[in-house]
Amino acid sequence: MATVAEVNLLGAVNLALKRAMTEDERVIVFGEDVGVDGGVFRATDGLLQSFGPKRVLDTPLAETLIAGLAVGLAAQGFRPVAEIQFMGFIYATLDQMINHASRLRTRTRGRLTCPMVLRAPYGGGIHAPEHHSESTESLFAHVPGLRVVIPSTPADAYGLLLSAIRDPDPVVFLEPKRLYRQVSEPVEDDGTGVPLDRCRVRRAGSDITLVSWGAMMHETLAAADALGADGISSEVIDVCTLKPLDTATILDSVSRTGRLVIVHEAARTAGFGAEVAASVAEAGLFDLKAPVLRVTGWDTVMPLPRHESAYLPDAARIVEAARRVMAYD
């Protein structure tokens, strides 16, 4: 039964959760306020009503618990989808994610596994209070055994989340909350997943490669439009799965364009852009006609809302970087 619905990213997450819970009774959803309240952003709206209290559970306010529950449930054959209310509160899960979820399969040589999803809204741009706007995806991307997945469109949020839930290993699924309600598009709720571990070429182009993910995809696409107006053709890549990184798609693009700008809203130092740049330096250096540039958040504390726009990269900064790269012959 495939229906096409016009949904925003939040609605797409909700659709995917419903689809996953319908098709597989091992899928259960839990977290803080995900039940009666449907989640503070309403990502889990209606799930409790549809699937009942045995499959949609409000937990005590305890993030280490939420991740630990997921590990225990996953080892027991459930497919837990746990919500962390905001990424700023995800750090209490690190012990469970790094020391346990990511390595349970390795530690037991496959006897126990951890097919869990840890969902969290992340990133800035909605004028949220302190600790509600950070973008610390590279913390997780550094951890062997995890997957880190970030959608940037409603259709991908649907398809990638379905794939994440079906994946036999732990996935950290980060939802750019700035995009939750920003754009809608028709999403076919037919249960088709979008493959993990693959970058998506959002726009084909020949002069420069722009690589980004999450909310920055939209700034990047806007920058590509502006560059296009000046006759510069940008290939825009949406990383989608940060870990493991599909370097092949990026290298292929760079081999044709010879120019690369990486855009992310996280702080620059040891941000995931460094990994992308290093991969290109290792395997694509001689394809480059210009230095690789990064357009990122500053290496500062994420400011409170008044200075948020000074922190977050925007299309203008991306265009400027692209022009600098284009200035090399």
């Binding site: 618990l65 630990g68 399969r105």
Partner: protein
Amino acid sequence: MASAADLDIHHTAYLGPDGEPLQALPESLSAPESLVALYRDMVFARLFDTRAIALQRTGRLGTYASLLGQEAVGVGVGHAMRAEDVLLPSFREHAVQLKRGVQAEEIYRYWGGDERGSDFAGPKEDFPVCITVGGHTPQAAGVALAFKLRGEPRVAVCVMGDGATSKGDFYEGLNAAGVWQLPFVCVVTNNQWAISTPRREQTAAETLAQKAIAVGIEGEQVDGNDVVAVAAVVGSALAQARAGRPALVECLTYRLGDHTTVDDASRYREDAEVSAAWQRDPVARLRLYLTNQAGWNKDREQALLAECEQAIERAVEAYLETPPEPVGSLFDFLYERLPEPLAAQRKALLGGDRG
């Protein structure tokens, strides 16, 4: 002034340090054969431990955490559990693992640096040891939640040290067990030390058992050097938990050895304290009881030791003869299917192109 809560922590003991019964033994544990079986498991665990240390000292095992002095806790808990329950042990709980059917050579393998040691042939759903102190408490709540959601009469049992009770994840796991009335039992092996930190410096709480009260679950204390008390009290805690009433059992014992084979406990505790603790040795205690009450004698003791030593010898041989695991295994269990970007790394590891 009215009282807002009635807080009471029971302490249970059946055998005194001299092996004399303090009260009638519970019926299920009073038969000499049952007690001899428990005694055998304690002797086996101790021999396993002695041998592990010897292997480490001769360079054939890695750093190892000795269970010396805590045999009654592990054997008692293992005795009380059913096969279908799930154990989440901390790193010192070899005795309960052995009792659960984990093979001695598997445990040697793990401490010998080989992940295959946690791929138990026996209790398939038991967790590998938890090295991050207390980290397995919320996981045990997850396992217990799985049982509850499926309506299975099974219990998740996590076992940890006194140090773990100072941690937030310990509290979070326990708290969830209370909120959801999970089939969950937390056993605290209070061996009085967390490396060099004595029990009194972990918490001002009078008992560790009372930490259960804060989360609304049952908390009890037992003499952890009395295997009968451990088996009986954990046994009833398990029965309660199976009916949806989680519990915490604090077992008072003593770590007679160093924290691990790389520790030197003489840096932080007096010999006199350790000698005094030997007076409460759980193995000697049960032997005295059996000698006085059940006709245990030198011949039977010798026969038992010989049988256990042979079994340990076979385990050591099996361990030492384990063929090495191919090095590609570094990658082979990372994900169900190795992602393509990692395939190149695996090839580099195996193929000489290490760039």
